[in-house]
C-alpha cells in the first residue's frame, strides 16, 4: 500500500507564527518523503534549536531535536552507526552557521551521506529576532536596536570551501522547487547542503516574501513585480561535475559556484549550485579499512552469546602484550 502524506505527519500542535516560511519548508520536506515513498521508520530527522528546530515534532518519522548548533554531529553519529538510516539534518542559520559553524565546516570534510537543510531567515527567530550570521551588514530588521555590525556569511561559498559535494539553495514559498531540490539532496551520495531562504514575518521585516518577490520594484512597462529570486537551471547553469579528472571542468564549475554565490540583492539565485558525486563518502573511506562496515555497521553488531557472555575475542590483542 502506497504511503500517503498523512503517514508522514504528527498531530502535534504547530506553534510557528502565522505566515512563517517554516511551514513551506515542512510541507515540502514531508511531501518529498511521501513522493519518494521512504518508510517513515527508516528516516531520522535531526534538528538544532530554534523555531526551525521544532520541525521533527511535526514529522511522523524518527525525530531528534538536539542542541543549539550541534545537529550535525548528532546526525553524523547516527548515520555512521547505521548507514542504512536515511538521515536528514536541519536547523536555523544561527544554529548551523553561528554556534555550529565549526561542525558545518568539518562535516564538509567527511562527506557523510546525509542531507542538511538550513532555514535561512537572517535572524535568531526563537530568541526574538537578533541578527543571524546571514544578515547583511548594515541592515536593521525591526527588533535590532542598531544596524547589524557584522558582514554576512555566505553559506554557499562556505559549503564549497568546506567540501560539501552537493550545494543548493531554495525558497520556502516555492514548494515545488524545494521538493525537487530536497529529493536531489537525499538522492545524492555524499554530504548535501540546502540553504533555504525562509522569510520570518515576525522579525525580519527586510527579507520578506514581498521583498523576495520584488513587490517594491515593479517593471515600468508591465507594472508587474520583478522577483529577486531566479532559478539557476533556467539560465542553463549546469552544476554537475562530470569528469573529476578534468581539472578544467572542475575549475570552471568551482568558479561558477563562487561567482553565483556572490549574487544577492536584486538577483538571488536558487537551485543546485554544485554537485560532485565522485568524491568518496565517509563510508567508502571506512570500507577501505573495515571491509564489513556496511554489512555489520556499529549499530548492528552482536557481541554477546545466548548466555550474555561477550563474544569479542581478545586472544590476539592479549598476545601482543603477553609476557607469560
Amino acid at each position: 500500500m502506497a504511503l500517503k502524506l498523512t503517514d508522514y505527519k504528527t498531530t502535534v500542535h504547530n506553534d510557528w507564527c502565522p505566515g512563517c516560511g517554516d511551514f513551506g519548508i515542512l510541507n515540502a520536506l514531508l511531501m518529498t518523503l511521501a513522493e519518494m515513498q521512504l518508510e517513515p521508520h527508516g528516516v531520522a530527522i535531526f534538528s538544532g534549536i530554534g523555531c526551525s528546530g521544532k520541525t521533527p515534532h511535526f514529522a511522523g518519522t524518527y525525530g531528534i531535536h538536539t542542541l543549539h548548533g550541534r545537529v550535525l554531529p548528532f546526525a553524523l553519529g547516527a548515520k555512521l552507526a547505521n548507514p542504512n538510516l536515511e538521515v536528514i539534518a536541519l536547523g536555523g542559520d544561527g544554529d548551523g552557521l553561528g554556534i555550529g559553524a565549526g561542525h558545518f565546516v568539518n562535516a564538509g570534510r567527511r562527506n557523510v551521506d546525509i542531507a542538511y537543510i538550513i532555514f535561512d531567515n537572517g535572524v535568531y527567530g526563537l530568541t526574538k529576532g537578533q541578527a543571524s550570521p546571514t544578515l547583511q551588514l548594515g541592515l536593521k530588521p525591526k527588533s535590532l536596536p542598531k544596524p547589524n555590525i557584522n558582514e554576512a556569511i555566505n553559506p554557499i561559498a562556505l559549503a564549497l570551501a568546506s567540501g560539501y559535494t552537493f550545494i543548493a539553495r531554495s525558497y520556502a514559498y516555492d514548494v515545488k522547487h524545494q521538493k525537487e531540490t530536497i529529493k536531489k539532496a537525499i538522492e545524492h551520495r555524499g554530504m548535501a547542503f540546502i540553504d533555504i531562504l525562509q522569510p520570518c514575518p515576525t522579525y525580519n521585516d527586510i527579507n520578506t516574501k514581498e521583498w523576495y518577490g520584488g513587490d517594491d520594484r515593479k517593471d515600468q512597462a508591465t507594472g508587474k513585480p520583478m522577483p529577486r529570486i531566479y532559478k539557476l537551471e533556467e539560465t542553463g547553469y549546469d552544476p554537475v561535475i562530470k569528469d573529476p579528472e578534468n581539472v578544467d571542468e572542475l575549475r570552471a564549475k568551482i568558479t561558477d559556484v563562487i561567482v553565483r554565490s556572490q549574487e544577492w540583492g536584486d538577483r538571488i539565485p536558487i537551485g543546485v549550485f554544485y554537485q560532485n558525486g565522485h568524491v568518496p563518502t565517509y563510508d567508502d573511506r571506512l570500507m577501505g579499512r573495515i571491509t564489513d562496515y556496511r554489512k555489520i555497521p556499529p549499530a548492528m553488531q552482536v557481541f554477546w552469546d545466548e548466555n550474555g557472555y561477550p563474544t569479542t575475542d581478545l586472544t590476539k590483542l592479549f598476545e601482543e602484550i603477553r609476557v607469560l
Binding site: 518519522t61 548528532f74 556499529p298
Partner: protein, 667 residues
C-alpha cells in the same frame, strides 16, 4: 642478596626513547616471571624536556611506585642531575663518564628552583655544583657508581655490525642502559633478548642490533666486575600464570572492545587519546563463533550475515572538538551502537551540555574521563583527582548519571564493561572516571578472564516486541511512565518504534510539553532510575574493602591511590598496625548506607585523596553526615607513592591533631 623488590628508574630527553627502554626492562622482568609496576612522568612537550619511567619489580604483587630509587640508569646528564639524590645508599647509578663535567646551572631544561636547590646542597658540602660532585657526594653516602662509556662501545659495536650511521647507533643507548642494569642485577641474558624481540618484533634488524649491543654491554660490565659490588640481584621465576603487561589506557581500550563498544569518538588530548589511538589501531578484531539464533529475536534488524561473521569492528572518529565528540557518540547510541567518548578535564568541560541532553533523553553513553591536573590546561601531563565534583555535577539542571571510579589498571578493564551495562540498563550517561597516573602506568596482571563479565543491554527491544506493544497499547511511548523509571527503548530505524527526542521537557512520546504535572512525573521518572540502580548494583561493584573488619583506623579513598595505599598497608601490617581501607568505586549514586555503616563504627577515619580540597570527603559528608578525622592530600601533579602514604598515615596516627597532611614528593 636477591631483591624481593627493586625500584629502577630510567630517564632522558623526551623523544629519545625512554619509554621504549622502560618497556624493554619491564617486559624482560615480566617474561622472567617477575611482576612489575611502571610509572611514566613527562612534560607537555614533544622533544627535549626531561621524561622518566620508573619501574618497580618484585617477585610478588606490586601495585605502586616508591620514591626511592635503587638503580638509576642514565645516558644523559640531566637524568643523573635530577635523580641522583633519590638513589638509596648501596644503590647504583649508571652514567656516561664523558658528561660528568656538566655544571648544574648549565642544564638548560632544569627549572631554576631545582638548580638553586642542588647548588645550595653541594655548596653546603664545600663542593662546586657539577654533576661530578653530585656523583661523588652520592658515592660518599654509599651509592655505587658505574660509568658506561657509551660512545666508545658504540664505536666498537658499529664496526662489528657494519653500521656507520652515528644517528642509528645512537638510538641504542637506551637499550644499552637497560642491558647495563641487567648486567648489574645478574639477570638472565636470554630473557632480555626475548624482551627485545617482543618489543621490536616488526623490525628484525633493530632486534639484532640491540641484542648485539646488549651483549657488548653485559660483557663490558662483567669484565669490569661491576656486578660484584652491586648488592641487588634479580632472578627469573617459574610460574604457570599467564600474564600481560598492560597500560591503563590499553586496559580501557580492551575493556571497550569486550564491552561491545563499536563507536568511539575523541578529540586529541593528553592523557586520553592513547586509548582512542589504540582502538583505531585495532579497529577490526576477531569474534568468537556465531551467536545463536535466539539473538535474532533480540536484535531482529541484524542481517543474517552478522551472525556468521567472524570479525567485529569499531569505528573511531576524531571529531572537530569535544562537543562534537559527545554529541556524535550520543547520535551513534540512538542508532543502537554501544558508543563512548574519551577525554580529560578541558574536553569534558565542553561536554557538559551534551551530557545533560543524554540525561533528559535517557540515552546510554559512556564518557571515559582521564583526569589530569587542572584547572584550565593546568599541568597537562600530570596527575590529579581534581575533577570528581565536576564530573558529578557537570551540566545544568538535574538529571541522573552514574559515576564509576576505577582504582587500578585491572579495574579499568572490568569496570569499562560495567560502565556500558549501567549506561544501557539505566539509560543514562555513565562517566567512568580515571586519571593520568593510571592511564600511563603499566602493570603485569594475569590475562583477563572475559567470562567474568556479561553484557546487559537492558530494555533495548526489537521489532517484534515493539509491534506487540503497539498492538496492545497504541503508539510507542519511548518515555512511558514506569514504576522503576526505565522504559523500553528501540534503535532508530526500528519498524513501529518511532519516537522523538528533545532537550526540552517532553511527554511520554518525546514531544515538547511545559505541562507542570508532566514535568513532575518526568523528573521523578528520570531521577527514580538512580534509586533503581542503587538498589540493583551489587555492593561488590560499588566498593572494595581491604584489611581486617576490626581495625584501629579506616582509610577512605577512591581511584588510583588504591595501589599505593595497599602497598603501604602491607608494611604497616607487618609493623603491627591494624588498618582497613574502604575504596569506593561507585561515586554516584553513592552507597551511602554502607559507607555510613563502615565509617560510623571506624575508630579513626583517615581520608586520602589526590586533590586540594578532599572533594570526595565532602561528598561523603554531604551524603552520610560523617566527617573524616584526618586528611592526606596532594596536588603537586605527581601521584602518591606508597612511602608517602606509609609515613603520613603513621604521622596522623601518632599526631591526631595533624588534621591535614599535604604530600609533596615526586619529580
Amino acid at each position: 642478596m636477591v631483591a624481593s623488590s627493586l625500584s629502577w628508574l630510567i630517564g632522558g630527553a623526551q623523544g629519545s626513547g625512554v619509554d621504549t627502554s622502560a618497556n624493554v626492562f619491564a617486559r624482560a622482568c615480566g617474561v622472567g616471571g617477575l611482576q612489575v609496576f611502571g610509572k611514566r612522568e613527562y612534560y607537555s612537550n614533544i622533544k627535549g624536556e626531561h621524561s622518566y619511567f620508573q619501574v618497580r619489580v618484585s617477585d610478588g604483587v606490586v601495585r605502586s611506585h616508591v620514591d626511592r630509587v635503587e638503580l638509576l640508569a642514565t645516558f644523559d646528564d640531566e637524568t643523573a642531575v635530577r635523580h641522583t639524590r633519590s638513589v638509596v645508599p648501596n644503590g647504583g647509578i649508571i652514567y656516561d663518564p664523558t658528561l660528568i663535567k656538566t655544571k648544574i646551572a648549565n642544564v638548560p631544561t632544569l627549572e631554576t628552583p631545582v638548580i638553586l636547590g642542588l647548588e645550595e646542597y653541594l655548596r653546603s658540602k664545600g663542593l662546586e655544583p657539577t654533576l661530578e660532585n653530585l656523583l661523588i657526594d652520592a658515592k660518599n653516602s654509599g651509592v655505587h657508581l658505574y660509568p658506561l662509556p657509551y660512545n666508545e662501545l658504540l664505536h666498537v659495536i658499529g664496526k662489528e655490525i657494519h653500521e656507520e650511521s652515528a644517528s642509528i647507533l645512537q638510538r641504542m643507548v637506551n637499550v644499552m642502559a637497560v642491558a647495563a642494569s641487567f648486567a648489574l642485577l645478574e639477570y638472565d641474558f636470554e630473557t632480555l633478548t626475548k624482551a627485545i624481540r617482543l618489543t621490536f618484533r616488526a623490525k628484525p634488524k633493530v632486534v639484532d642490533m640491540n641484542i648485539h649491543a646488549s651483549r657488548k654491554v653485559y660483557e663490558y660490565f662483567t669484565t669490569q666486575m661491576y656486578n660484584k659490588s652491586f648488592p641487588f640481584k634479580l632472578q627469573t621465576i617459574k610460574t604457570d600464570e599467564q600474564r600481560i603487561l598492560v597500560l591503563g589506557s590499553q586496559a580501557v581500550g580492551l575493556g571497550k572492545l569486550i564491552s561491545g563498544c563499536r563507536f568511539q569518538t575523541y578529540y586529541p588530548i593528553t592523557p586520553a587519546s592513547d586509548e582512542s589511538e589504540y582502538l583505531e589501531g585495532h579497529e577490526v578484531f576477531d569474534m568468537k563463533p556465531p551467536a545463536l539464533t535466539s539473538q535474532v529475536m533480540e536484535n531482529p534488524q541484524v542481517e543474517e550475515v552478522a551472525y556468521l561473521n567472524s570479525k567485529g569492528s569499531v569505528v573511531v572518529v576524531q571529531t572537530e572538538d569535544e562537543i562534537a565528540a559527545i554529541t556524535m557518540a550520543i547520535g551513534a547510541s540512538l542508532a543502537g551502537a554501544r558508543a563512548a567518548t574519551s577525554t580529560s578535564g578541558p574536553g569534558f568541560s565542553l561536554m557538559a551540555e551534551g551530557t545533560g541532553w543524554a540525561g533528559i533523553n535517557e540515552v546510554p553513553v559512556v564518557i571515559t574521563l582521564y583526569q589530569r591536573a587542572g584547572p584550565s590546561t593546568g599541568l597537562p601531563t600530570r596527575h590529579e583527582q581534581g575533577d570528581l565534583r565536576f564530573a558529578m555535577h557537570a551540566g545544568h539542571g538535574e538529571f541522573p548519571r552514574i559515576l564509576l571510579a576505577s582504582g587500578d589498571v585491572e579495574e579499568c578493564f572490568y569496570d569499562t564493561v560495567r560502565a556500558f551495562n549501567y549506561a544501557e540498563r539505566y539509560q543514562l550517561p555513565v562517566i567512568h572516571i580515571i586519571d593520568k597516573s593510571m592511564a600511563n602506568s603499566n602493570m603485569t596482571v594475569p590475562v583477563w578472564d572475559t567470562k567474568k563479565v556479561k553484557i546487559d543491554r537492558g530494555l533495548l527491544i526489537g521489532g517484534e516486541e515493539i509491534q506487540k506493544m503497539v498492538a496492545s497499547e497504541g503508539l510507542f511511548r519511548r518515555f512511558k511512565f514506569i514504576e522503576n523509571g526505565i522504559s523500553p527503548r528501540v534503535k532508530l530505524g526500528t519498524k513501529g518504534g518511532m519516537f522523538w527526542n528533545t532537550g526540552d521537557e517532553h511527554d511520554e512520546y518525546g514531544h515538547i510539553t511545559e505541562d507542570p504535572t508532566n514535568r513532575i512525573m518526568m523528573m521523578e521518572k528520570r531521577m527514580k532510575k538512580l534509586e533503581t540502580a542503587d538498589g540493583e548494583i551489587p555492593l561488590s561493584e560499588k566498593v572494595n574493602f581491604f584489611g581486617p573488619a576490626e581495625a584501629d583506623a579506616t582509610i577512605l579513598s577512591w581511584g588510583s591511590t588504591k595501589g599505593a595505599i595497599l602497598d603501604a598497608m602491607d608494611i604497616l601490617k607487618e609493623e603491627g598496625y591494624r588498618i582497613n581501607f574502604l575504596q569506593v568505586r561507585l561515586i554516584h549514586p553513592l552507597p551511602s548506607e554502607y559507607l555510613g555503616y563502615v565509617l560510623s563504627s571506624a575508630k579513626k577515619k583517615i581520608h586520602i585523596e589526590m586533590n586540594y580540597s578532599a572533594q570526595f570527603a565532602g561528598i561523603v559528608r554531604e551524603k552520610t553526615g560523617i566527617a573524616m578525622d584526618n586528611f592526606i592530600v596532594k596536588y603537586n601533579g605527581r601521584p602518591m607513592s606508597s612511602e608517602e602514604i606509609y609515613y603520613s598515615v603513621k604521622k596522623v596516627l601518632a599526631h591526631p591533631e595533624e588534621k591535614r597532611v599535604v604530600l609533596t614528593h615526586g619529580a
